[in-house]
């Protein structure tokens, strides 16, 4: 039985396309792994209870709150962080560009949740309604904008993404 217990855990994560093999302590959250072990600080800590969404990443194509995700449970996951939205040549993705152009953010601390959720929304819905945007962003708090500019930015992102696809 004891041989089933590991003191540290070996995880293989592909983060923004790059493979990382890491030996981590069992208790580590994905958020801490990204920030502390990989020095990827684009993903933010806001509450550590899963309420604010500032720590959002995508795991195997689905958004998740990295502060309440135990890294050890992700043995072979593909992770995309906010840094991974930028294209390899440094070009901003249509979503990033739209949020910047439309003053979607003020302080930008909530950006990981807003952008990653928008990306997932637009994958399956190229023309989201107000209420679909509200559902998609419901897991994220923004304290600066009053959400008006965020809604506008999601709609602009949808248009930009369509333009790019066509």
């Amino acid at each position: 039985m004891e041989d089933m217990l590991e003191d540290t855990v070996l995880v293989n994560l592909r983060v923004n396309g790059k493979l990382h093999e890491l030996e981590i302590p069992a208790h580590k959250s994905l958020l801490d792994l990204l920030r502390e072990d990989l020095n990827m600080t684009g993903t933010h800590m806001g509450c550590m209870t899963g309420h604010c969404g500032a720590c959002t990443v995508s795991i195997d194509g689905r958004v998740a709150k990295s502060c309440i995700t135990l890294a050890a449970t992700l043995s072979r996951a593909k992770i995309t962080t906010i840094e991974g939205l930028t294209e390899e040549d440094g070009t901003l993705s249509p979503i990033q560009q739209a949020f910047w152009d439309e003053a979607g953010f003020q302080c930008g601390y909530c950006a990981p949740g807003m952008l990653m959720c928008t990306a997932e929304l637009l994958e399956s819905n190229s023309d989201p309604s107000d209420s679909e945007i509200e559902t998609a962003l419901a897991g994220n708090l923004c304290r600066c904008t009053g959400y008006q500019s965020l809604k506008r930015a999601v709609k602009a992102a949808a248009v930009k993404a369509k333009e790019k696809a066509s």
Partner: protein, 287 residues
């Protein structure tokens, strides 16, 4: 409490049972982590061993066998919402799963098993499962046992902890033509539920022939109102009956919660409002 927890990743139910049987208290089963991690992050829980059940195939999948639907406990909310089988045969459950808070992120990671074993009074799944008469398979060192979810909840150790593992949920498909509703009252969009109710109703012309109603978020555990309100059967819904349902449902809440979601007096009143609203909405869908 340990600063240096160990990690176990059983490959199948047999290994899981073995690990659970051999460990003393302080081990914690982790699935999606949505319930456990906030406590871990704040140091309120410091498990000595994390038992990651994410590799166990038996906990996954949604299937129909012998007229019953099985949902693996590791099924995430989003899959409960979007699964064709659940949408067609258990639309109440699919809808209730979509009402879970925390946004897409939590829907993508949180599991039905985790939501059940949390036994959190404010969570969304239990009322619907109880209204649907769910049974669950629980694995422990004595093997796998099937129990009614309602009975499991009567057990003081219902939190399951590290000695036992919720394997799957069994549900009978809803009757064709049954009306259903899940009503959830929130003070604001970001709030947890202050009261909720799941209802399933069948009608014969306009008369109620069967009624299942479970009210949640107003007391420590959901309250099944079905027996209390059984004499609604045989009657047609009316303003008078609606008021009676509201009053009797409220009266059934003996020890209302009083917390950030609202004081006890209001919660008790809302139990009635939700029960009434859920039945009304279910009747509209029935037929």
């Amino acid at each position: 409490m340990s600063l240096y927890p160990a990690f176990a990743r059983p490959r199948d139910l047999g290994q899981a049972a073995e690990i659970m049987g051999s460990l003393s208290t302080g081990a914690m089963i982790i699935a999606g982590g949505q319930e456990l991690m906030p406590s871990v992050n704040y140091g309120a829980l410091m498990p000595e061993v994390y038992i990651d059940v994410g590799q166990i195939a038996a906990l996954k999948g949604i299937s129909e066998e012998a007229g019953a639907i099985q949902i693996g406990s590791f099924t995430v909310h989003r899959d409960v919402q979007n699964n064709d089988l659940i949408q067609s045969k258990l639309p109440l459950l699919s809808y209730a799963a979509a009402q879970i808070g925390g946004g897409m992120q939590v829907h993508n990671r949180g599991t039905i098993g985790g939501n059940i074993v949390a036994m959190h009074p404010l969570y969304d799944i239990l009322p619907s499962l109880l209204a649907l008469g769910a049974e669950v398979d629980v694995l422990s060192d004595v093997g796998e046992v099937r129990v009614a979810l309602a009975d499991l909840m009567k057990d003081a150790r219902h939190g399951l902890g590290s000695e036992s593992l919720l394997v799957r949920v069994h549900l009978k498909p809803m009757m064709p033509g049954a009306g259903w509703s899940y009503e959830k009252l929130k003070i604001t969009a970001g709030g947890y539920g202050s009261a909720n109710a799941a209802a399933i109703v069948t009608l014969d012309s306009s008369k109620i022939t069967s009624l299942r109603v479970v009210v949640g978020a107003v007391s420590a555990l959901p309250v099944d109102m079905s027996d209390t309100l059984s004499d609604c059967c045989g009657q047609a819904w009316s303003a008078h009956l609606a008021e009676e349902v509201e009053a009797r449902s409220s009266a059934e809440i003996k020890e209302p919660l009083s917390d950030h979601q609202g004081d006890g007096e209001w919660r008790r009143a809302m139990a009635g409002v939700m029960a009434r609203g859920a039945i009304e909405a279910a009747i509209k869908k029935a037929g």
